[in-house]
Subunit: 125 residues, 2 copies
Amino acid sequence: MTWLDAVKWDADGLIPAIAQDYKTGRILMMAWMNREALELSAQEQRAIYFSRSRQKLWRKGEESGHVQKLHELRLDCDADVIVMMVEQLGGIACHTGRESCFYRVFENNEWVTVDPVLKDPKDIY
Amino acid sequence: MTWLDAVKWDADGLIPAIAQDYKTGRILMMAWMNREALELSAQEQRAIYFSRSRQKLWRKGEESGHVQKLHELRLDCDADVIVMMVEQLGGIACHTGRESCFYRVFENNEWVTVDPVLKDPKDIY
């Protein structure tokens, strides 16, 4: 039984992985990992996800340079969610050019965009 | 089109919801919400999940008293993950009696329990 066997993979062989800034605690994004992605993340000490839309490994930052260096990896009580403390290179996790993917706040029955675009996505990809 | 229609529900009509301590930024847990759970969470300003195992609404804290008061609700760029800033009453989110469900850290190819049990689960439920 390895540490990878302790993980409760879902029906598609995936687990949600939350990336959190290791200094500020800001939640940057949530994506999915398969067994290979989690193993490689631990080996290479950077976040490697499994893209459900493209059905392949997604080495976060491979195009944008916005690599997430891994500082700590945690598993929850049910063994079905991962939290990573990461250092977000470039300070941008979101494909919209924002620090975090969670840039919309619920206010007066609407989702209101409250965070600035730090870099034009055209200049990222 | 309401704010609930903006959410991209998965095939089971659910969305992952991450609860984060509004003061420390610590990630406490991740669970799931259906449309009703999200609507009620916003209305009642507390975390209400949908239990996949019991297939019914789960008003966090209804048995334990460990209610999560909602301070802020965010949606991500793909509209398929929720983050809640919460005040964790009792300081315990996990059913094991720990502050956070993420009490196991990956070290030397093992998941190592690093956080203390603050209250015996027998005294919670």
